[in-house]
Amino acid sequence: MGLLSKKDTKLITDPLADNNPITIQVLGICSALAITAELEASIVMSISVLFVLGVGNVVISLMRNIIPSKIRIIVQLIVVATLVIIVDLVLKAFAYELSKTLSVFVGLIITNCIIMGRFEAFALGNGPWRSFLDGIGNAAGYGVILIIVGFFRELLGSGTLLGIPMLGDPIEKTGLYAIGYENNGFMLLSPMALIVVGIIIWVQRSRNKALVED
């Protein structure tokens, strides 16, 4: 990649796997679990976080020399809150049904620890372009987990993906349902989100022994 140096590429690829915000750094879990019963909600949530984190990181990085360190948390919260209000209003205008499904969790992007974590750990000490890449990378790492969880929960829970039936018709018994498959409604309930993430962590750490905790 000519545009990105090797170090810059690492900023984006690292959070996708070995330094994933959710499974390794344990950040931003609340929203990751609560809205993953449908794949569509997961995707929209990922895009919202991508926007907030990418833009927010740039803004904080531009202001990093003029923010007094004593009140930096309040400044950061106000920047995030402003961006989240924009996302919330856009969602309400163009995808009203979806914004109902996401309900308060759009607002909770403000307190998503990934965002505060990246502001504190990266944007306050680096230039705008690198902060932007770092924001995009971390938001993508978050999105990957969200989309995996959403995919399995929607597929196994209601037999659809993005609302389109994938496994046949459960009422007329076509496709997989013809041989006795049943939707597992339990996948749609909140506890299964935790267990699915637990399994993702298990798989990831079995593949990469360096990540195992003792």
């Binding site: 344990v26 948390i73 309040i74 607002g107 307190t111 620890c113 909140s190 935790l194 267990i195 022994k209």
Partner: protein, 240 residues
């Protein structure tokens, strides 16, 4: 009666950790030892008990559509609800800062034991979530809002206390290496959440039909929990 009902409902049925996954980050990060978990849990109860009623007042007299009518006729049409995120988070940040200063002044020993957790709480989603759920569930009075704040705080406290106790004991168990630490904590939380789901029938006496309707009517789509319950009920009916 209403107050007691909401109190137990916010502790057990709508438990912040197990039903809506709020405050998970600090729940997972600070639950390695019971003593630290107790400190953070107590601080969360305290901050929720202050901020939820305060934000209720803000919502009622400043942010809701038509809330400004106490200023005069011409302000009645104003709708400032788009400002609620920024107002709520500002209240929370201010209160956390204020609590920190007061505690430092009057009880240095408590300050030292809570010290690091207090600023952490400003970015705990459970605190903002409490205020946002208070708003979206349209809790009618200040008294109920206080009860809701305290109850949710206690629910969160119970959850982090339970997981900390389990994590202290699980060190002696033979967990598969890749699952140790975070993985097993997630799965245990999932199992605890399944346990807490059984509290759902607590206030209805196990009556199957009415509660689902009632819940969806009052909470609407405040959380996808109720939707899920309907799906399960439907699935059960299909099976029969």
């Amino acid at each position: 009666m209403e107050h007691i009902e909401l109190f137990f409902k916010s502790i057990f049925i709508d438990n912040m950790v197990f039903a809506t996954f709020l405050g998970m980050c600090s729940y997972l990060a600070v639950s390695k030892k019971v003593s630290t978990a107790v400190g953070l849990g107590a601080a969360v109860i305290f901050v929720l008990a202050i901020t939820v009623p305060l934000n209720w007042l803000l919502d009622q007299y400043l942010l809701q559509p038509g809330a400004l009518s106490w200023l005069g006729e011409e302000y009645a049409a104003y709708d400032l609800s788009f400002l609620s995120f920024i107002m709520f988070i500002a209240t929370i940040a201010t209160m956390v800062q204020l609590v920190e200063i007061v505690v430092e002044k009057f009880s240095p020993s408590l300050y030292n034991s809570l010290g690091i957790f207090l600023p952490l709480i400003a970015v705990n989603c459970a605190i903002l979530g409490g205020s946002l759920f208070m708003q979206s569930r349209e809790i009618p009075t200040l008294g109920l809002a206080t009860v809701y704040g305290v109850g949710s705080g206690i629910g969160w406290f119970l959850a982090i206390l339970a997981i900390a106790a389990i994590r202290e004991k699980i060190r002696y168990s033979n967990v598969p290496p890749a699952l140790r630490g975070l993985g097993i904590t997630f799965i245990i939380t999932g199992l605890m959440a399944i346990g807490f789901m059984s509290f759902g029938g607590m206030l209805t006496g196990g009556d199957e039909d009415t509660p689902v309707e009632e819940k969806t009517a009052t909470i609407e789509s405040a959380d996808d929990h109720t939707e899920d319950e309907k799906v399960v009920v439907n699935n059960l009916k299909d099976n029969e």
